[in-house]
Symmetry: C2
Subunit: 359 residues, 2 copies
DNA sequence: TGTCAGTATTGGAACGATCCATATTCAGTG
DNA sequence: CACTGAATATGGATCGTTCCAATACTGACA
C-alpha cells in the first residue's frame, strides 16, 4: 500500500501525534480526536479523509496523554500472590489468560502487581496479614495507575474487599463475600456445591454407594460449600454420609493420610475431593496399597488442573468455567466504570465435570 | 499521626497534586518534584519539610502526567498466548510471578496483552502464523503504552525478536535466538543440555546403564539441545545410546507410546524425558504394564511442573531457575532502558534437579 | 434574501508532571 | 565588604490528548 507523504513538521523518530495527522488531513486537531472518539460528529467525507491520514501515518493516540486528560488508564490491576508450590491449583494460568482476553475485548489491559514487600525481604517484619492484604493497592490507586481491580482471594475473609469498598475504589471479586453478607460490591463465583453434586451423581450412576468426602477444614467457607454438595447429593439418593468424611489442609499429604484412614476403617468405593491437590494425595494412597484408580476405587477431584489432565490414568475433576468467569468480571467492571446500573451484584456460575479414567 | 492542614486550593475528592504538596510545604512545585526525583538537590531541612507534607497528604505522583512528560510508562509488556491444556508445562505461573516481583524491585510493572485476534474469532482467517506473531506489539509501541517487552516463545523461530529489533524496540528474550545467530538483542536462557546431564548423572549414580531418551522432533532446537545432554553424558560414561532414543510431539500420548515401544524392544531401566508432559506419558505406560516408577523403572522429567510435584509417587524433574531468569531479564531490561552498555547480550543459567521417588 | 436551527468544525485551556534556564541563597575568599 | 562559584530554589514552557465554548457552515423556510 502507498504511504502518504508525511507532514513537514514531523520529526522522524518520534511517533506521529494528533497535530501531525491533522496537518496531513487538512483539518484541526480536535477533528481528528473526534474522528477517533465520536465519529458520528463528522461528515462522512471528512471522516474518511482523517481515517486515511491516520492509516498512512500509522497513528495511535498517546496513552499517557489520553490518560492524563481523561483521568483513566484503561488498566485493570490484578495482584499475583506468591505461588504455592506442591499444590495442584493451576487455575491461575487459565483465569489470567481469559481475563486478558476479555479485557482486551472491552478495551482494557491487565496490569500485574505484587504485595509491596520486597522479594528479598524474606524475614518476618512483624506485619500482620491484614497489613499486607492491601499492600500495593493503595499506591496504584493514589497514582491513578489503574482504573479498577480484580481481586481473587476472597476466601481468607476479604480485607481488600472491605478496604477497597470503603475507599470507593472500583473492583470486582472472583469469589463471594462469604463472611460479609452485607457487602454490596459486584462479584462472580463458581457454584462449588453444584460441582460436587455433579461428581456425586456421576459416581452414583456408576453404581457407587459408599462415597467418601475428603475436604478442607471447617473454617473454610469454600470447603464447606463444596461439602454440602456431597451431603445433599448423597442424602438425595438415600445414601449415608456419616464417618465417610475427612477434613484437613490443602496438601497432597493430607489427602494421602485421609484416604489411608478411610480405606482402612470405612471401605469406601469412591472418593470425592475438595481439590485436585487432595485428590492427588488420594491417588498416592491408592498407589501405596496397589489399588488401581478407576478400576478398584473411583476418585474425583476439583479444579480440572493440569495435573488432573496428565496424571495416569487421568483424574475426573470438576471444571470451573474460568473463561466465563473472566468475561462476567470484565462485564461487571465495565458497567461499574461507565456508571451503568448493576442489576445483580453477584453472579454464580455452574461448573462442569471433566470425566477421565479415574471414575 | 497528625494530619497536616490541607491546602485551601485542594478540592476534596480529587487526589493531591504537586501543587497541593508545594503549598502545604511552602515551596515551589519544582522543589517537590526534586524532592522525589533528585533529593540530593535539596537542603536536608527543606527535604524533610517536603517529605512531611507528602506523607500527611498521602501524595503519589500521577502516573499519566509523569509518563507523558518523561515519554516512558515504566511498564513492561508480556504477551500471554493461548494456554495449551493437557500439557504439564506450568512454567508460566512461576515465571510470571517472578517477573512481577523483579519488575517491582526495579520500579516497573508488568502489562499483559494477547494477540490482537478476537477471542470469539476462532475461525481460521487465513493469517499466517507470522502475521499473528507481532500482533499486539505494534499497537502498544505506537501508543507508547509500554517501555519494553519480554518475549518468551523464541522456539518457533522468533519472528517477534527480528521484528522488534528492526523496529528498534527494547526487549529481552527468555530463550536463545536459536535460528538467528546474528541476533544482537539481549537474552536469558536456561542450559537445558546441562539439566539433562544432571539427570543422567543422577541415574548413573543409582546404577542405571540402559537409560532411554524420550524427546521432541528433530526440528525443535530446544529438544535437540536437551538431547545432546543425554548423548554427551551417556558417552562420557561409556554407555550406549543407539536405539534408546525416541522423538515426537510434546504430548502425554506420545510419551506413552514411545515408552511402550522402547520397553518392548530395548528394555531400558530408566527414562530421561524432554518434558514433564512426555514423562507423564511414560508414567502412563508404566501403569499400563503394572510397573512401579522408581522401583522397577526410573523416570526423570523436565520443568519441575506442578504435575511432577504431585503425581504419585513424585516425578524427579529438571528445574529451571525461573526466579533467577526473571531477575536477569529485568536487569538487562533496566540496562537497555537506561542506555547503559550491556557487556554480554546472553546469559545462560544452570538448572537444578528436583529428586523425587520416581528415580 | 435574510433568518434560524441544527450540524460540522475549530482554537484555547486544562490535565499534572518534568525539563530547562534563570534567580536566589550560601559559604568561602581576597 | 564586595566578589565569586557552588548549592538551592523557582517560574515558565512543554509533553499530547480531550473538554469546553465559540464559530463557521449548511439547508429549510418565510
Amino acid at each position: 500500500m502507498p504511504r502518504g507523504s508525511t507532514a513537514g513538521t514531523r520529526r522522524s523518530g518520534s511517533p506521529p501525534t494528533l497535530a501531525t495527522v491533522a496537518q496531513e488531513a487538512g483539518v484541526s486537531r480536535q477533528t481528528v480526536s473526534n474522528a477517533l472518539n465520536s465519529p458520528h460528529l463528522l461528515r462522512p467525507e471528512t471522516l474518511a479523509r482523517v481515517r486515511r491520514a491516520v492509516d498512512s501515518l500509522g497513528y495511535s493516540p498517546n496513552r499517557a496523554a489520553r490518560n492524563l486528560r481523561t483521568r483513566s488508564s484503561h488498566l485493570i490491576g490484578l495482584r499475583v500472590d506468591r505461588v504455592v508450590e506442591g499444590t495442584a491449583n493451576a487455575t491461575m494460568d487459565r483465569f489470567l489468560h481469559s481475563l486478558v482476553e476479555s479485557s482486551k475485548d472491552a478495551g482494557y489491559h491487565v496490569l500485574l502487581f505484587s504485595s509491596g514487600v520486597d522479594a528479598g525481604d524474606g524475614a518476618d517484619n512483624g506485619l500482620a496479614d491484614d497489613g499486607r492484604a492491601i499492600d500495593g493497592y493503595d499506591d496504584l490507586l493514589r497514582s491513578t495507575a489503574v482504573d479498577a481491580f480484580v481481586i481473587t482471594d476472597t476466601y481468607r475473609g476479604n480485607p481488600q474487599a472491605g478496604w477497597l469498598e470503603r475507599r470507593g475504589a472500583p473492583f470486582v471479586a472472583f469469589g463471594r463475600p462469604w463472611d460479609e453478607p452485607s457487602a454490596t460490591h459486584p462479584w462472580v463465583d463458581v457454584d462449588g456445591r453444584t460441582g460436587v453434586m455433579l461428581a456425586v451423581e456421576h459416581l452414583v450412576e456408576r453404581g457407587h454407594e459408599r462415597i467418601a468426602w475428603v475436604g478442607w477444614q471447617k473454617t473454610s467457607f469454600i470447603g464447606e460449600d463444596r461439602r454440602t454438595g456431597w451431603t445433599d447429593a448423597m442424602h438425595g439418593h438415600g445414601l449415608a454420609t456419616s464417618r465417610l468424611s475427612a477434613r484437613g489442609d490443602d496438601t497432597v499429604d493430607f489427602g494421602r493420610r485421609a484416604a489411608h484412614a478411610l480405606l482402612e476403617k470405612e471401605r469406601p468405593t469412591a472418593f470425592v475431593c475438595v481439590s485436585d491437590t487432595v485428590a492427588m494425595g488420594v491417588l498416592h494412597a491408592l498407589a501405596d496399597l496397589g489399588l488401581r484408580p478407576g478400576q478398584d476405587i473411583a476418585v474425583v477431584g476439583f479444579d480440572d488442573s493440569i495435573a488432573a489432565q496428565v496424571v495416569p490414568p487421568g483424574l475426573t475433576s470438576v471444571r470451573q468455567p474460568l473463561e466465563q468467569v473472566a468475561r462476567e468480571i470484565v462485564h461487571l467492571l465495565d458497567k461499574r466504570l461507565s456508571h451503568k446500573p448493576i442489576e445483580e451484584p453477584g453472579r454464580l456460575l455452574a461448573p462442569t465435570l471433566s470425566v477421565r479414567a479415574s471414575s
